[in-house]
């Protein structure tokens, strides 16, 4: 199953990001299954390595988005402190976005790590 890199186009929501991560994680782990069997049979699927790299770059893009949200939240916080904020919900919404995105990305990364560890523990 061919995996496509996530993101690249601006405006992808965090929920869709999470959805796509889940699908890719499942696909990656099922691809790893096939790879393990193939390795046991003596041959390694070269495509698996490429899919692994796609997943890593997807995580990387998610982290970049979190970084950007964190930066906007910090800027808005400074504006609020110096009295230059126009609307209060401006700051609150940005801060909530940053918080949620951080929690989401952290959880997704943890799940990915757990999935990876589980795969590695599989007896061959």
């Amino acid at each position: 199953m061919a995996l496509s890199p996530i993101g690249g186009v601006g405006g992808i929501g965090a929920a869709q990001l999470a959805q796509a991560y889940r699908q890719q994680a499942l696909a990656a782990s099922s691809a790893s299954d096939a790879a393990t069997r193939a390795a046991a049979a003596g041959s390694v699927d070269a495509g698996t390595a490429a899919r692994g790299a796609d997943f890593a770059s997807a995580i990387g893009q998610g982290l970049q988005q979190v970084q950007n949200l964190d930066q906007s939240a910090a800027t808005k916080a400074v504006q609020a402190a110096t009295g230059n904020l126009t609307d209060i919900h401006d700051y609150v919404i940005t801060a909530t976005k940053a918080q949620t995105a951080t929690e989401l990305t952290t959880t997704v990364r943890n799940k990915a790590m757990d999935a990876f560890n589980e795969i590695m523990r599989m007896p061959l």
Partner: protein, 115 residues
């Protein structure tokens, strides 16, 4: 990430707002004191400049100015309406700055816990 400047700016703002709240309380207490001049606290302008020029926000100290409206033997120059509005405004701004400071720290904590 503790080099995050926003926490220092927020901390300076909280100090300025607390000073303003004290000034308002003093004014309201002295609303009937003869010859009493109302006080006002300014810090936002200086803080904005410090942020723009990259200076240390902790160097910004709030400045207290006295109102030049007339005073007399039977009256101070405290404008009770204006002081009430300032008090509400300052309290809300303080809540907002506290919230913002809390948010910065909880972001750090979320990232730290996940590790």
């Amino acid at each position: 990430m503790f080099g995050d400047a926003s926490i220092d700016v927020l901390s300076a703002a909280l100090g300025g707002l607390a000073a303003r709240q004290r000034a308002v309380s003093d004014d309201i207490a002295n609303v009937n004191t003869p010859y009493y001049r109302a006080k006002s606290v300014a810090f936002e302008g200086e803080l904005s400049q410090a942020v723009a020029s990259g200076a240390d926000p902790a160097s910004v100290t709030p400045t207290v100015a006295q109102s030049t409206a007339p005073v007399g033997l039977t009256y101070s120059n405290v404008d009770l309406n204006a002081e009430t509005i300032t008090s509400v405004n300052t309290q809300l701004a303080y809540d907002l700055a506290l919230r913002a400071t809390g948010d910065r720290f909880s972001l750090l904590r979320t990232a730290a816990k996940g590790a």
